[in-house]
C-alpha cells in the first residue's frame, strides 16, 4: 500500500516536471526565435541564424528546459505505464490556456474552455488508475557475484 502510494506520488511529480519543462521550453524557444527574427532559407541566412541562435541566452534556457523534459520523460517511463504518462502529459494544453488568460490576457472561447474541462476530467480519470501495470524488465547484471552459480 505504502509502495503504491509512493509510486503514485513519484509518477505525478515526474509528470508535473514533464509538463512544466515542455511548456517552459516551448515558450522560451518561441521567445528566443522571435528575438532573432525570420530565418532566411539560404546558406548565408542559415549560418547567420545559427550564429544568432547559439549566442542567444533565451534559446539556451529553452534548450535546458527541453533537456529537462526529455530526462524526466525517460525517467518516468522507466517505471510508469506509457498509457498513463501520455494522456497525463496533455495537461500541458490546459496549463497553457490558463497561462494565456492570466499573463497574456487572451480571451478564450467557451468551446476552448470546454476542451480544457474535458482534458482535466480525462487526466483525473487516468490519474486514478494504477501508474504501473507491468513488471520492470531491467536487464540482469552480466557479472554474477563470486560464489553464485551461473
Amino acid at each position: 500500500m505504502f509502495t503504491e502510494r509512493r509510486l503514485r506520488i513519484k509518477t505525478l511529480v515526474g509528470v508535473l516536471a514533464i509538463v512544466v519543462c515542455a511548456n517552459c521550453g516551448d515558450l522560451l524557444l518561441k521567445r528566443g526565435m522571435s528575438q532573432i527574427g525570420p530565418v532566411q532559407i539560404s546558406l548565408a541566412g542559415l549560418s547567420h541564424a545559427f550564429r544568432l541562435t547559439v549566442t542567444n541566452g533565451t534559446i539556451w534556457a529553452g534548450i535546458i528546459f527541453l533537456t529537462g523534459f526529455m530526462l524526466s520523460y525517460m525517467t518516468v517511463l522507466s517505471w510508469a505505464d506509457y498509457s498513463y504518462v501520455m494522456p497525463a502529459g496533455a495537461f500541458g494544453y490546459a496549463v497553457l490556456t490558463f497561462l494565456a488568460v492570466i499573463f497574456l490576457h487572451e480571451s478564450v472561447s467557451s468551446r476552448r474552455w470546454f476542451g480544457v474541462f474535458l482534458i482535466c476530467v480525462g487526466v483525473l480519470l487516468v490519474g486514478q488508475t494504477k501508474p504501473r501495470t507491468t513488471e520492470a524488465r531491467a536487464e540482469l547484471p552480466k557479472k554474477l557475484p563470486k560464489g553464485v552459480p551461473a
Binding site: 505505464d81 506509457y82 498509457s83 494522456p87 480525462g122 531491467a138
Partner: protein, 123 residues
C-alpha cells in the same frame, strides 16, 4: 487529400511507434536507483546503450518532420486535432505491444483527453 492522410498516418504512427520503442527501452533499462545527478547520469548511460532507445529516436524525428510539413500544407486547426489521434493509437500500442492493463477508466480518460485537445485547438 490522400497525401495529407498519408503524412498524417506517418505522423501518428511515427510518434506512437517512437514513444513505444523508447518506453520498451526504458523498461529494459530499469529505473534510476536514486534521483541524484550521479544516479541519473548512470541511468542515462544505461539508456543510451539500449537499442530500443535508438530505434525510437529516428521514428520520433520522422514524426516531427511530418508535423512540420503538414503544418506548411494545412492549417494548425486541422493538423493538431487530427494528431490527437495518437493518444488513441498509443493506448492500443500500450495494450497490445507493451502489454499494459488498460482499464475502462483509462480508456475513458484517453478519449476525453483526445476530444479535449481537439476542442482546445479548434477553439
Amino acid at each position: 487529400m490522400i497525401k495529407v492522410a498519408l503524412l498524417l498516418g506517418v505522423l501518428v504512427f511515427g510518434s506512437t511507434g517512437g514513444e513505444i520503442a523508447i518506453t520498451y527501452g526504458m523498461k529494459a533499462t530499469g529505473e534510476p536507483e536514486h534521483l541524484t545527478p550521479r544516479a541519473l547520469l548512470k541511468f542515462l548511460g544505461r539508456a543510451f546503450r539500449n537499442g530500443w532507445f535508438w530505434a525510437g529516436v529516428p521514428l520520433m524525428a520522422l514524426s516531427f518532420y511530418s508535423l512540420l510539413v503538414l503544418l506548411s500544407w494545412e492549417p494548425i486547426s486541422l493538423v493538431i486535432p487530427a494528431s490527437a489521434l495518437s493518444y488513441v493509437v498509443g493506448t492500443f500500442g500500450a495494450k497490445y505491444v507493451l502489454g499494459e492493463d488498460v482499464t475502462l477508466a483509462r480508456w475513458a480518460g484517453v478519449v476525453l483527453v483526445c476530444l479535449g485537445v481537439a476542442l482546445v485547438t479548434f477553439g
